[in-house]
């Protein structure tokens, strides 16, 4: 039993890192722009698709496909921001309009991929090999997801804390008006935030698609979990999203073992409900950073 529990903890952490990577972009955009980006899941899917195209059609090795996916994410993020976010933000009910607009974008992206690439799911071969630590077996790809995810998070945290752009971004998150007063180009910060979030999502898709398989619906599935993670972790909180992503992954795996998958799902959604009722600001308790 202890063997299986250890295995489940390892499984849970690797799944949770996936949730964290998707939730991260979502929460970043919410923290800075105060809007919900519904097309985030499709950016994640596109990261997976670009990785698939790079490794099969172009014949590139998996690791070379990652920057390509990130680049694709950046282009998409820039485009979505320009077309469906920036023009609407200035309106009085801009936030709600952006929600609907990005929802429309997500359907457009999904249908376009189904039409142009086809609905077939596909396997992507990631980092090969399996590693055994006593009774615990982890594949090379899962370890890579954990390591790369961690590196990405540290880089992001460093950027937020130590660079001028990070300071600007945090200023805009706190108050757009005050940021404008001190001469920060808010539109530029918004655009860059959107781009960074999209890059993280696309990289998340590229990292996870070898584990969960590429399918055109992978974005729709993952975005729901990401919303749960973001709400429990605290909307707009980066560290909250990461901690909560790992927590949800762990809870799912351990409860799935002890009580069954159905119970695990029920507990997580009950947690979401309880959180909204009792502590709407989320676990970390900061509205924005």
């Amino acid at each position: 039993m202890v063997d299986i529990l250890l295995q489940q903890i390892a499984n849970g952490l690797s799944v949770g890192m996936g949730y964290a990577l998707v939730a991260l972009g979502l929460t970043l955009i919410f923290g800075v722009l105060h809007v919900i980006n519904f097309s985030h899941g499709e950016t994640f899917m596109l990261g997976g698709l670009l990785t698939l195209i790079a490794t099969t059609t172009l014949g590139l090795p998996y690791l070379a496909a990652l920057p390509l996916a990130g680049l694709g994410g950046a282009v998409l993020g820039w485009g979505v921001n320009r077309i469906a976010v920036r023009p609407l933000l200035a309106r009085r009910d801009g936030g709600a309009d952006v929600l609907l607009a990005t929802f429309a974008v997500s359907i457009l992206i999904h249908q376009a991929v189904v039409m142009l690439w086809g609905p077939a799911p596909a396997r992507i071969d990631g980092v090969p090999g399996t590693f055994e630590l006593g009774p615990v077996v982890l594949t090379g790809q899962r370890l890579f997801v954990l390591a790369a995810g961690l590196a990405l998070l540290v880089a992001l945290e460093w950027m937020l804390r130590r660079t001028r752009f990070g300071v600007e971004l945090r200023a805009v998150a706190q108050s757009q008006f005050a940021a404008r007063v001190v001469g920060i180009d808010v539109d530029r910060v918004n655009g860059a935030t959107f781009g960074i979030a999209a890059v993280v999502a696309a990289l998340g898709g590229a990292l996870l698609s070898p584990v969960i398989l590429y399918s055109s619906s992978m974005g729709q599935v993952v975005i729901i979990k990401a919303f749960v993670v973001v709400v429990i972790g605290g909307m707009g909180s980066v560290s909250g999203a990461v901690a909560c992503g790992l927590l949800v992954g762990l809870l799912e795996a351990v409860l799935g073992l002890v009580a069954g998958e159905g119970v695990a799902t029920a507990v997580i959604y009950s947690l979401l409900l309880a959180m909204l009722l009792i502590r709407p600001q989320g676990l970390t308790g900061k509205r924005a950073r």
Binding site: D3, Q7, P121, V137, L213, G256, E261
Partner: protein
């Protein structure tokens, strides 16, 4: 402005002329139009649709039916949704005046369409839907796929007599099909079933489930899920976590796309189905060649069922000497046996197709082949 107006007028006139042209020509040999419904945006829906197209093309290449009339397919997408399926059937019946409906993958869509077909006296040749209720109490409905109960009858005997498991684990999707499979295996093996895990249809990480199954010590693991990306991924995770149990995929599910998704991890997995691409009969060889030439892929069960849905209805129209009366064509389908790529197909009184016994399959070297007896 005037030139623009003239150009528009000319374009409109051309369109009119173009649309009128085939109408006059068609008087000589009016095509026979058949309705096809499928969730064409999904992979399985596309496969079924392509099978139907190949059937129409093969019949037309042979000179058509009823003394030279060609088959024309009128196809609509059902998107796996009952309301869209009903809308598609309504369009066929009311707008296109077609009372022969074929195809479909989903049982819920088929059951919804069935109501409409029944109300309008239309013939419904369901290709893939597996729900028992599809063939219950309407004399113009047919189903080509086998039902889960039919599959189980053959496959249970095979499991008990040939595989002889000591401990069985089941990994099933959380659906009617998955739950029925768990119940069926529990009835068959009793206490020997040491683990029964279900997963959601949207789930994409299976480490938890496979870890539990591995911990149960089962020597045979049965997979019951219709999504190939899911069972393919389960097979892959099983290999990654070094699960040594024999892997059995419940009948009617395993296809080469799933094998491709699983990769080398699928080797050694076994299953059974009503059709395998390599069947040795002339019609199958012709069908496989025609399909390959048209789509550059090899057809499998879904494609064959899509093919049969058009093939049998068209052949029955030819034999009945009638392409307008669904009742007459339905009686002809009931009264005769039909040669298709999977062999001779007959229909039971309720409209259920029956062919030979299930073919045992296994995955060898990344290929899905008929198992050696």
């Amino acid at each position: 402005m005037r030139t623009l107006f003239r150009a528009a007028l000319l374009a409109a006139a051309c369109t009119l002329a173009l649309s009128a042209a085939p109408r006059t020509a068609a008087l000589a040999a009016d095509p026979v139009r058949l309705g096809v419904i499928n969730p064409t945006k999904s992979l399985v829906g596309k496969q079924g649709q392509q099978g139907a197209v190949v059937a129409a093309e093969m019949i037309n290449a042979d000179g058509g039916i009823l003394g030279g009339r060609k088959i024309e397919l009128v196809s609509y997408d059902t998107n796996f949704l009952p309301n869209e399926g009903v809308a598609a059937a309504q369009r066929l019946i009311n707008q296109d005046r077609i009372r022969f409906i074929t195809g479909e993958i989903s049982s819920t869509v088929a059951l919804a369409v069935l109501q409409l077909a029944q109300a309008n006296g239309a013939l419904f040749m369901a290709a893939v839907p597996k729900h028992p209720a599809v063939t219950s109490g309407y004399d113009r409905v047919f189903r080509l796929n086998s039902t889960t109960a039919m599959d189980a009858k053959d496959f249970d005997a095979f499991l008990v007599e040939q595989i002889k498991p000591n401990k069985v684990a089941v990994i099933a999707e959380n659906s009617d099909f998955g739950r029925l499979t768990i119940a069926g295996l529990k009835k068959l093996f009793g206490d020997k079933v040491v683990a029964a895990e279900t997963y959601e249809m949207t789930q994409n990480d299976f480490n938890t489930i496979v870890t539990k199954v591995k911990g149960s010590g089962a020597d045979v693991v049965c997979l019951a899920g219709s999504n190939m990306e899911q069972y393919g991924n389960i097979l892959r995770v099983a290999a990654e976590l070094k699960l040594t149990a024999k892997r059995c995929v419940m009948p009617g599910i395993l296809n080469s796309e799933g094998v491709r998704i699983a990769g080398p991890a699928a080797d050694g997995a076994f299953s059974a189905d009503i059709y395998v691409t390599g069947l040795d009969n002339p019609l199958n060889q012709r069908f496989v060649a025609a399909y390959k030439a048209r789509y550059n892929e090899l057809p499998e069960k879904i494609e064959v069922l899509g093919f049969e849905s058009i093939w049998i209805v068209a052949k029955a129209m030819d034999k009945a000497g009638d392409a307008t009366d669904p009742g007459k064509v339905a009686r002809t389908i009931h009264d005769n046996a039909w040669e298709t790529p999977r062999g001779t197909v007959r229909f039971e009184k309720n409209g259920q197709a029956v062919a030979g016994p299930l073919i045992n399959l296994e995955v060898i070297g990344g290929k899905l082949v008929a198992a050696k007896p």
